[in-house]
């Protein structure tokens, strides 16, 4: 199964190089491609940040869910700002984790 996923990933990477090696990419398609990373990466990130044990969509936002969610959202926002400025993985990680822990401590200490 690993091989299949690897093969598919590889096929994605190769596909357009091979297909378009001798051809011209239509301009409209090329313009759409520019937005693939922003859209796809965001679609991946948002559920990860919102992934909190007690947060069932039907149950709405319980107090427990908010307590668990707030540090993650705060961390994500700060990380986004730092990443936008520095373009660096390490500063982003430090800022994001730091904010997460800070807000977790604040929330835990203030019932």
């Amino acid at each position: 199964m690993i091989v299949i996923v690897g093969a598919l990933n590889y096929a994605s990477r190769l596909s357009f190089i091979a297909f378009f090696a001798r051809r011209h990419i239509p301009a409209s398609l090329a313009r759409a491609f520019r937005y693939v990373p922003a859209a796809m990466l965001t679609a991946l990130v948002v559920p990860m940040v919102a992934a909190v044990p007690h947060a069932a969509p039907e149950a709405g936002l319980s107090a427990q869910a908010l307590v668990a969610l707030a540090p993650r959202v705060a961390g994500a926002v700060v990380a986004l700002a730092v990443a936008w400025r520095t373009h660096g993985t390490l500063p982003t990680l430090v800022a994001g984790m730091g904010t997460l822990w800070l807000v977790q401590a604040i929330v835990a200490g203030a019932p």
């Binding site: 990933n9 190089i17 378009f20 313009r31 491609f33 520019r34 693939v36 965001t42 373009h87 984790m97």
Partner: protein
């Protein structure tokens, strides 16, 4: 290249930790990192495996996660045209976000495409080696770290680091905003289809904004 290699290390460690956390064996974790060589796909694969998802779903979801490689592939195509087919194929395997960014800079500087390709090979291979080492280190160190540290949060942070440079244009922000809202609104869809759907909506939104803004300036 060195900063890019170092930047990959925390991400790789996090992926290794994630694999251990999901209960994968060390050689399947290494297999994932060596053959698949894509953090997004690896993370999703181990999570879905642990949740007992069917193979078809795992494969499809990882394919979706890797869709941005289609775009990189399209962008690289004109640059790699002068190279022999086998070189193109090998370079395709090594295509990652960092390699792409570095390669584009190098190729655009002009001069001999073969030298640029060698530069890309060297950098790409170095990245690959660092990735394996980081994954292994994360895998074995993972068991020593308590869950209360919330280290799983490091994974989305790495992706945030990857996506932030995309927000240079307002259209990209539109694309991301639409995708972000859609993925939450569609979370009820089975088999994590909300990822594909939201991504598609985002791409369409960005493209529409793009066309709308050029029409405005053309008037």
């Amino acid at each position: 290249m060195i900063p890019a290699c170092l930047g990959l290390v925390p991400f790789g460690v996090v992926c290794g930790v994630g694999a251990a956390g999901a209960g994968a064996s060390w050689w399947s974790a290494l297999g994932l990192s060596a053959i698949v060589f894509s953090g997004a796909a690896q993370i999703l694969a181990v999570q879905l495996l642990a949740a007992g998802a069917p193979v078809a779903v795992i494969v499809l979801t990882c394919f979706v996660a890797g869709l941005r490689f289609l775009m990189y592939s399209a962008a690289m195509a004109p640059l790699l045209r002068p190279l022999p087919a086998r070189a193109q194929q090998a370079l395709a395997f090594l295509l990652t976000d960092q390699a792409f960014a570095a390669a584009v800079r190098r190729f655009e500087r002009g001069g001999d495409p073969h030298a640029a390709a060698r530069h890309y090979f060297g950098g790409g291979f170095a990245l690959w080696m660092f990735w394996q080492a980081a994954n292994l280190a994360g895998y074995f160190a993972g068991s020593m770290i308590p869950a209360s540290w919330s280290l799983d949060f490091a994974v989305p942070l790495c992706f945030i680091a990857l996506v932030a440079p995309q927000f240079r244009s307002r259209n990209a922000i539109v694309a991301a905003a639409v995708a972000g809202v859609a993925v939450l609104a569609l979370a009820w869809l089975p088999m994590r289809l909300n990822l594909i759907a939201a991504g598609t909506f985002g791409i369409v939104a960005g493209t529409v904004a793009d066309f709308a803004s050029t029409r405005r300036t053309a008037r």
